[in-house]
């Protein structure tokens, strides 16, 4: 199943959207760093959108923005 998540994000003055926190299963995870932003498909979860490669607690995770909703890739 695709794991939809809530996200707290920053909209900068250039119109870029930068996710800061992920809210998932009642917990709040801080995104320490965004390493890459690129359009990509998620073959694991199913879907396509803008893929943010994030460092969360020293672990790399893919966070996708698909239209107006966010999902994280399955591990």
């Amino acid at each position: 199943m695709k794991q939809w998540v809530e996200v707290i994000a920053k909209f900068d003055s250039q119109g870029n959207i930068l996710p800061l926190w992920i809210l998932f299963q009642g917990k709040k995870y801080q995104i320490d760093k965004i390493q890459f932003i690129t359009p990509a498909a998620s073959l694991k979860s199913g879907g396509a959108g803008l893929r943010y490669t994030c460092l969360i607690a020293s672990q790399q995770r893919y966070l996708f923005l698909e239209d107006t909703k966010w999902f994280i890739d399955k591990i």
């Binding site: 498909a41 199913g46 879907g47 396509a48």
Partner: protein, 413 residues
């Protein structure tokens, strides 16, 4: 110098998109099929695995299920497919401004003047293919050649995530042994006719005297001869021109068959409203009206007529279409589907010859049409309609303008 044309064909497009969104079905036979309750229950696309069971496009769901009981069937989600089609074409436009759509899932790209920015022509095709796979999760086949017809043959030659190059050196080896039916414009009846004259392959067609072909097929004969010889030379329409509309039409397969003129009139009425509304939205008028029908035995016919003046009025389109139907078809067999379209379009802002007698009537009709359109735009399609259409809602309860949005771009020479 030869041009460099790519023909990009998204592999089993609808099924690929569905498989992307349902990763658990990626290794299972999958098909996308219309709604059987609305009698659109035919296979629209299938993945390679479903194809290996012998399932064919356009066959009924029950036939497909008989061949493969485990077939997974998804209803079509056109909004999603249009989104992917748009994204794919956005990627194409990063490689050239000459992109010509051929339906929702195919396009020609002329990269003659832009490939040097990306390396070789083959490398450009490879980059496009890999980017679409990476960014959108779907695959495509690319034909690379020096004209549009050969590029299309190339993309059909090897399916699923491939690039096929057809150049002057290997054309005879690749193209000539292919059956004539693989050639663009050669449909079932043309194939049968060619086969009748012992022309089975593209090579045989290429070696046939074009005067003979002209005698048999009329003006299309020499065109087919040129295609088979790799002499087709039409331009890839630039991206900015690709939205030029040649005709506007709508058709519908009704929930129940139309067994009398009255029922056909009701459906034509709904379709004509949509056509008239789309004409006005694009600021166009048309002069040639065509009606196409399909009987319950799937026999297809179409009729057309030319008006004295271009029109965009609902009532005029409907009346002309209905007269055309009555004149040409005696309702011997009930109708399964009906369509109406208008072509030879001109800008509605051109000068026009005013009608001495009916001008006021036309102005009233235009006001009525525009009022209806603006009410619908604000409150939704179903909030207002002609009372006459309430007579048989099984036939008239649909919105052709918004429910049917897949219109392949016509072939332009």
């Amino acid at each position: 110098m030869d041009r460099i044309i790519l023909h990009c064909d998204l592999n089993c497009f609808y099924a690929s998109v569905e498989m992307l969104y349902h990763p658990e079905t990626r290794h299972l036979p999958v098909a996308v099929a219309g709604n059987p309750e609305k009698r659109h229950g035919i296979i629209l696309t299938k993945n390679p695995l479903a194809k290996s069971y012998g399932i064919k496009t356009a066959e009924a769901i029950w036939q497909a299920k008989a061949k493969c009981p485990n077939l997974i069937i998804y209803p079509p989600d056109y909004r999603k497919y249009l989104k992917f089609s748009f994204l794919v074409k956005k990627i194409f436009s990063e490689y050239t401004d000459k992109v010509e759509s051929f339906g929702i899932d195919e396009a020609w790209l002329d990269i003659t003047h832009s490939y040097h920015l990306f390396g070789s022509p083959y490398h450009t095709a490879y980059l496009i293919k890999e980017r679409i796979k990476e960014e959108l999760g779907i695959t495509l086949s690319i034909g690379l050649s020096y004209n549009k017809v050969l590029a299309k043959l190339g993309s059909d030659y090897k399916k699923y995530d491939c690039i096929v190059v057809i150049n002057r050196a290997n054309k005879a080896q690749i193209v000539d042994p292919l059956p004539v039916s693989d050639l663009l414009f050669v449909g079932r009846s043309t194939t049968a006719k060619l086969n009748h004259f012992k022309i089975f392959t593209i090579g045989q067609l290429a070696n046939t005297d074009y005067k003979f072909l002209h005698k048999i097929f009329g003006k299309i004969g020499p065109i087919l001869h040129a295609y088979a010889n790799g002499l087709e030379c039409s331009e890839v329409t630039a991206h900015s021109d690709s939205e030029l509309v040649k005709s506007i039409g709508n058709s519908s397969t009704t929930v129940i068959d139309m067994s009398c003129y009255q029922e056909a009139y009701l459906v034509l009425s709904v379709l004509s409203q949509s056509v008239a509304s789309r004409l006005k939205k694009q600021g166009l008028k048309g002069i040639c009206i065509s009606v196409s029908i399909r009987t319950k035995d799937l026999e297809h016919s179409s009729f057309q007529t030319t008006l004295i003046q271009p029109t965009w009025l609902y009532r005029e389109i409907l009346t002309t279409g209905f007269t055309l139907l009555k004149k040409n078809y005696q309702m011997v067999k009930p109708l399964r589907s009906i369509g109406i379209s208008i072509s030879k379009l001109v800008s509605a802002h051109n000068y026009e010859q005013l009608d001495l007698f009916d001008q006021q009537k036309k102005e009233h009709q235009l006001t009525l049409d525009l009022t209806l359109d603006s009410i619908r735009q604000r409150f939704g399609y179903h909030c207002i309609n002609y009372a006459s259409l309430k007579v048989n809602q099984d036939l008239t309860d649909f919105n052709p303008k918004e429910e049917h949005v897949i219109f392949p771009t016509g072939w332009r020479i």
